[in-house]
Symmetry: C2
Subunit: 499 residues, 2 copies
């Protein structure tokens, strides 16, 4: 039974206790059919010798396997792989074939139109060079600190309760802390009752829209604009009106005119670094939008996801900090400060609205992860978040400058862009090449870059894309630009050849 | 300037570097107005002496404060609290008063009916004795292991990408692992394409219902039943039909009859330990429901949140494991295995349904926390979850038996209950006392217990409540029962007195 040594490989450095490594290896082999039912397995003494471990370790492994129902111990005979494996034990291959497989489709109708048709759903968790949509560099994110804070809180008596059901609005600790942060950084006169902790900005957007909008309601968004938001409003049955975005943000004359013709319920704005064009809504237009909202009783959904990342001047005060008539729902996120996959964000609004939003959140996912919420509060309190933002802003500014320089010198008249005041991407228009083609060729050459189709309207083809600069260091930027340049040239040749 | 020693208390054991502790204490004092604008603060040498730290530490603190904009360094004069604090710096009290406060109510209409009117929203994160609804004991939960797994993955090159945007359906690693677990533990022939990772069972319920139901659609639930589910369906505009639940689960004759009269779109069942009555749906009725679903083309929403916790026999195979016509949407959760505040669950369904559900999830919160999802997968792989379930089942069985014994001997004919086969609570009917009154008196006496009102229908008053046994050890159970007995007796006296 030398087989044992083949089947069981012990990793002394693993966090898994050795007896469990042995037990797991045995149960896996039984499930895979490599140790057949009824087989007598070597005694603990022999196995211990073969594996070069203490006999008591093997005894512990066997008793775990017996408890799990894999082995049976027959007195004076030894340990055997159970012949009557548990009813719900894994099936043999032959059994599986006669067993019903989960059907491909449903036996009942359902509303496939509910699916948000956002098609750029590819995961970025790949080992490839990516010009993303404008995401942070997770390599510098203080996630180690976040995990340490979780561990510390876990063993603190005053926080030990934070694993049971808590407050759906978010933990009081995080809301208190965040209200101070919002007061300090953006002059927002909020208390913890004005805050709902969400999973990223998107949940805030979804909840706010689902409370404000009924099917047939009129919504204003910028054009070009943030596609996911538009699709979320459409999913709720809203009628979308697009208003052009120029270098100072959404055109307020056009908003005002539309308000005279339609009963507008909601205006969606990204005040800093508008997605996709990266422009900032100027103070004058902010004031004007507030007046229009007050007069026409519509809600402003202020999606300030990028507030903390402004490079050339101080960021502009949010409309939420100047709103004295309760027309602004403010949305922010930690996904840009920490990491996209650490899903925390917040909604700020009048308390009556937050109350309804909290109840809606209960029906969606009951509540948030309170241990992690408290850990984020800790990172505020010990200064980690503020320091990380400072550090990121410095780094991303350098990366912005470097990428702009690289693009300018190597693509020259092939593309047009303005240096963005903040955010994490450049909005670049391709002048000579077809972006769709460039994107396809670049992927073959080892670089992922969007093809810009999602921004196009039926009447306007922008041939433009967001080029994220924050997540790539100088060396990566250089490599990515090289591939992009090559791809632009190849796409040109391809054209000539096909002519 | 002895003040420095009062304002700054250094904690040598803290994780925060000392220079930052000093900087944070200074900025707090400035914000609180204890160090007024323009004040000259002691030089680094003097401060270092006063605080008994190295001078370079103070220099680092001052330079941090200068960078943050709290201090200004005037050459040859020293460090001063900035007179022109940043535009967005906190306001003085007098300024705050002239500053707009966030309004109480909104300046636009919104749909308050969207709020799920579930009123038992009190947080359980309190230092009180609680007979909860049937929740696990988080004191034994392997959260330390979960956090360790997160940390390990964070520094593993192959997982370093899991902080950027990933797969909204859940990480492939967790879905692969979970599909094996579901095959092994409940004979469900599923692949990772059949799984959507959610935030707890509630998100699965919400997403499934929002895809299947349109306003006016007919839904069947048990009576008494799980109130949150019913409210979620109502929120989506569904018409609710209640069918009595007896000792074997929902009455299938009545379901069949209703199907002849109404076009049923969805039947909601809790197959193990029905909430609130704790009964298990017997196999015969499961088969019958599957046939009815196939014939009438309705969806079965099988909410098996309590599957792993069965004490007297093996749990019964889910309907999802026998469904060959795609009528079952299966919902499970990790909140009972790990902790209510660690929000993970899963939906299992035909791939076409999971595709739509994933797109809906994108509009709700983009995706899950992928680092944590992968950490849960690790706890499956190293056997932690299986061991924890075994350990919990053993412990909760003892606690169930102990609490049943205590209630029987001390309340005798005052209450009636059946010993539940599994789950984490007892469904107890109060015979002599008014439960609403008992609940109020118990709270005064130091015990939280529900008043059972949420289970009542317009026609039936159950005077019953779920008494959770899993989260209390023997000593706590004894103390809680003592208070309950006392409260029952007091409620009786109160009655006599008021007569």
């Amino acid at each position: 039974v030398k087989l044992i040594q083949e089947l069981i490989v012990i990793d002394p450095k693993s966090d898994i206790p050795i007896y469990l490594q042995i037990a797991n290896a045995f149960s896996l082999s039984i499930r895979q059919g490599r140790l057949r039912k009824g087989l007598r397995i070597p005694g603990s003494r022999e196995t211990a010798r073969l594996l070069n471990v203490n006999r008591m370790t093997v005894v512990a492994a066997y008793s775990e396997l017996e408890a799990q129902g894999w082995l049976e111990m027959i007195p004076r005979k030894g340990a055997f792989v159970r012949t009557s494996l548990p009813v719900l034990a894994p099936k043999q291959l032959s059994e599986i074939q006669s067993f019903p497989k989960t059907p491909e489709t449903t036996g009942f109708p359902f509303n496939t139109k509910k699916a948000i048709p956002f098609n750029t759903s590819r995961s970025l968790q790949v080992e490839k060079l990516i010009f993303n949509d404008g995401f942070p560099d997770v390599r510098i994110a203080p996630i180690g600190s976040l995990i340490r804070a979780m561990r510390r809180l876990l063993y603190l008596p005053s926080f030990s309760k934070s694993l049971v059901y808590g407050n759906a609005q978010g933990t009081p600790y995080l809301r208190e802390t965040l209200s101070v942060f919002l007061n300090d950084t953006r002059g927002m006169p909020v208390a913890s009752e004005n805050i709902l902790i969400t999973k990223g900005a998107q949940m805030g957007l979804y909840i706010a829209a689902s409370i404000i909008l009924k099917p047939g309601d009129h919504v204003i968004v910028g054009q070009p604009g943030y596609v996911t938001a538009t699709l979320t409003f459409q999913q709720l049955g809203a009628i979308i009106h697009t208003i052009p975005v120029d270098d100072s943000g959404i055109d307020m004359d056009k908003v005002e005119k539309l308000c005279q013709r339609k009963k507008i319920k909601l205006v969606y704005v990204i005040p800093h670094h508008h997605n996709p064009t990266t422009v900032t809504l100027i103070p004058e237009r902010r004031m004007r939008l507030l007046e229009l909202a007050k007069k026409n009783k519509f809600a402003i959904l202020e999606d300030d996801y990028d507030y903390d990342f402004h490079y050339t001047s101080k960021p502009i005060m949010p409309m939420a900090s100047m709103d004295n008539s309760g027309n602004v729902i403010y949305i922010g996120t930690y996904t840009k400060t920490l990491a996209p996959a650490i899903r925390f964000g917040f909604m700020v609004a009048p308390a009556s609205f937050i109350h309804t939003a909290t109840q809606v959140r209960k029906s969606i996912d009951t509540q948030g992860d309170t241990l992690m919420e408290n850990a984020i509060a800790e990172l505020h309190r010990d200064g980690t978040i503020t320091r990380h933002i400072k550090k990121s802003v410095k780094l991303y500014k350098e990366r912005r400058d470097n990428l702009c320089m690289l693009l300018q010198t190597s693509l020259n008249s092939h593309i047009t862009f303005k240096i963005p005041d903040g955010g994490m991407s450049i909005w670049a228009k391709f002048n000579t090449a077809d972006l769709h083609e460039v994107s396809k060729i670049a992927e073959v050459n080892g670089l992922l870059i969007g093809n810009g189709k999602i921004y196009d309207s039926p009447t306007v083809k922008y041939n433009s894309v967001r080029i994220g600069f924050a997540s790539l260091n100088f060396a990566e930027q250089e490599k990515a630009v090289d591939i992009l340049v090559k791809s632009v040239h190849e796409s040109g040749k391809h054209h000539l050849e096909s002519k």
